[in-house]
């Protein structure tokens, strides 16, 4: 069995004066997995993420990162293990140039100048930011500010990456490039946690899904079974990709009723056609 990259044991958290944001959640994110964290706004996704990088501490329960209890490790120390991309890029941009922004984390972790420079140049190139290196992030458009925060995170290459709605504000070309880059990191052993409302992406990219609703973990499993379960989707107020509905409607013709991607449905149609041909001959 794979090791746990992140482990929450009966974790609860309540913001001052509010309802519990997380209510006794126990879950595991396996090392090397691509785990999607889904649920309505306010379901506890971001709170869960902040427990993992130390921005919040559980009021009850324990968090383990790479097999070790978080205990009183500082946010800066945890940053070596857990990289966190905020939903709103403006919550993490503060340096006066794009270059300083990307170098900040590298300096903090004590990388020597030549390594900082190498990673800076790589990150600028990977996110199409070369010509903005000396620009203040604040003058860039939303999509570019998002690219700056991604570049800063990638420069650090933490073993666990938690990304809160990273594709919001990006067009499909940039979103796809980001997803492919995450896939490469996953293939080299990194763990990816993707918080998103886009079920089409969950179906296509994740291998495990955690579903939160009102601070509780209400379901978990492979995307195909989670997204094709009308009960889970309804309970968590989520809507699966359109193809899920199509798959269900076509199931009376002998196709599986749980296709959640174009690939899966086309494969099923191909198998079905081959079967029919075989029966005929």
């Amino acid at each position: 069995m794979a090791e746990a990259a992140l482990e929450l044991l009966r974790c609860s958290y309540r913001y001052e004066g509010g309802l519990p944001a997380l209510d006794s959640v126990t879950c595991t994110v396996e090392e090397g997995s691509w785990t999607a964290l889904v649920g309505q706004n306010g379901s506890g996704k971001t709170t869960l993420a902040k427990l993992c990088n130390g921005l919040l501490r559980p009021q009850e329960g324990d968090v383990h990162v790479m097999g070790e209890p978080v205990g009183d490790r500082t946010v800066g120390d945890l940053a070596q293990d857990v990289g966190y991309l905020f939903q709103n890029p403006d919550h993490q941009l503060f340096a006066s140039t794009v270059r300083d922004e990307i170098e900040f984390g590298l300096r903090n972790l004590g990388y020597p100048a030549y390594e900082r420079d190498r990673r800076l140049r790589q990150a600028l190139a990977a996110f199409g930011l070369e010509r903005y290196a000396e620009h203040p992030p604040a003058v860039l458009g939303f999509g570019l500010r998002r690219q700056v925060t991604l570049a800063s995170l990638f420069a650090l290459r933490p073993p666990i990456l938690i990304l809160d709605e990273p594709t919001t504000g990006l067009d499909w070309g940039r979103a796809l490039a980001l997803l492919q880059r995450l896939r490469k990191l996953q293939e080299s052993g990194h763990t990816v946690v993707l918080i998103t409302h886009q079920m089409r992406l969950v179906a296509e990219w994740a291998d495990h899904v955690l579903v939160l609703h009102r601070g509780r973990l209400v379901a978990e499993g492979p995307p195909r079974s989670i997204l094709s379960s009308p009960g889970v989707m309804r309970r968590a107020s989520l809507s699966p990709p359109p193809i899920t509905e199509l798959s269900r409607r076509l199931s009376h013709l002998g196709l599986p009723d749980d296709c959640t991607t174009v690939d899966a449905l086309l494969e099923s149609i191909a198998r079905q056609r081959a079967r029919v041909r075989e029966e005929e001959s």
Binding site: G39, Q40, N41, G141, T168, G169, G173, S239
Partner: protein, 290 residues
């Protein structure tokens, strides 16, 4: 009937970002028209100039931003350069992506009244318009609440109500559902449809949510690098999967399915909705069985 929105060969460059720099050219010859009571979905990659085009529609550009402007934008027959932005705000309402950035008062009712108070309308008229707008958006029950404690979907409906209270003819929506969850998104899109269908309001809708477009838009335009690369009825534009992908956009899932079905089984299908795909695939699979 004359179109309510006409953009004619619009070129625009922002003033230089850094002192001594070059002007930043964003729009390079945009032309489009929009009929009253219809919805245009504007698609385009990041940085294509979509938000800039929005600001041109309500006169923020060129009145408040400066820069180099040529060509023409006219709303309900009025050239945006000939009127002040305050006057245009009664014709063109604007709603942005991030609800929190546009809400700032203590209560939902105050939020919706804010723009009206700026017009120095009599209190009774303000009250009437506020309650009417809240009712249209289905948020009357929230009127005493603080906008900051509402869900994202509710906040966007407050922003829509505030825009609606000014009785605009055109609503410009800049990715209004980008930060919402599926439930919030559905509630906002339903409200938008209703404003068009029941109030005859013209909708100019920027979105990246491609799967929501076929259900709402009457017309789709794609802005690429400051120019309209393609426009027309939804089928005509959204059906061109490979063109969309070459511009950094994704086709709706049913279009992608049809296109990949065609590649595999040499067909010329085009499906926009689950209903269309279901009907065609059902026929196909039954034919296989003879």
């Amino acid at each position: 009937m004359a179109p309510i929105v006409t953009v004619n060969d619009l070129h625009y460059a922002y003033p230089p970002v850094l002192p001594g720099g070059a002007p930043v050219s964003v729009l390079r010859g945009v032309s489009l028209t929009l009929e009253k009571g219809t919805c245009l979905a504007l698609l385009g990659p990041t940085g294509a100039g979509k938000s800039t085009l929005c600001l041109c529609l309500n006169g923020t550009i060129p009145h408040l931003v400066g820069g180099t402007f040529s060509g023409q934008v006219s709303i309900a027959g009025v050239d945006t350069r000939d009127v002040k932005t305050g006057e245009l705000s009664q014709t063109v309402g604007l709603v942005f992506q991030d609800p929190e950035s546009q809400l700032f008062t203590m209560s939902v009712a105050d939020e919706v009244a804010f723009g009206l108070e700026g017009l120095a309308l009599p209190p009774r008229e303000i009250e009437k318009r506020v309650s009417e707008s809240l009712a249209v958006l289905g948020i009357t029950h929230l009127s005493a609440r603080s906008p900051l404690e509402l869900s994202g979907g509710e906040q966007q409906r407050v922003a829509l109500a505030a825009a609606l209270a000014l009785r605009p003819q055109v609503l410009v929506l800049d990715e209004p559902t980008a930060s919402l969850d599926p439930v919030g998104k559905a509630s906002v899109l339903e409200a938008v449809k209703q404003l068009r269908d029941e109030r005859g309001i013209t909708i100019f809708w920027i979105t990246q949510d491609i799967d929501a477009v076929p259900g709402i838009a009457d017309h789709v335009a794609v802005l690429v690098d400051g120019r309209i690369a393609l426009q027309g009825p939804p089928r005509h534009v959204l059906g061109r999967r490979h063109d969309l992908e070459s511009w950094g956009l994704r086709a709706p899932q049913m279009v992608e399915l049809a296109s990949r079905f065609n590649e595999r089984w040499d067909n010329d299908a085009l499906w926009m909705t689950v209903d269309e795909a279901e009907e065609a695939l059902e026929r196909r699979l039954r034919e296989d069985r003879g």
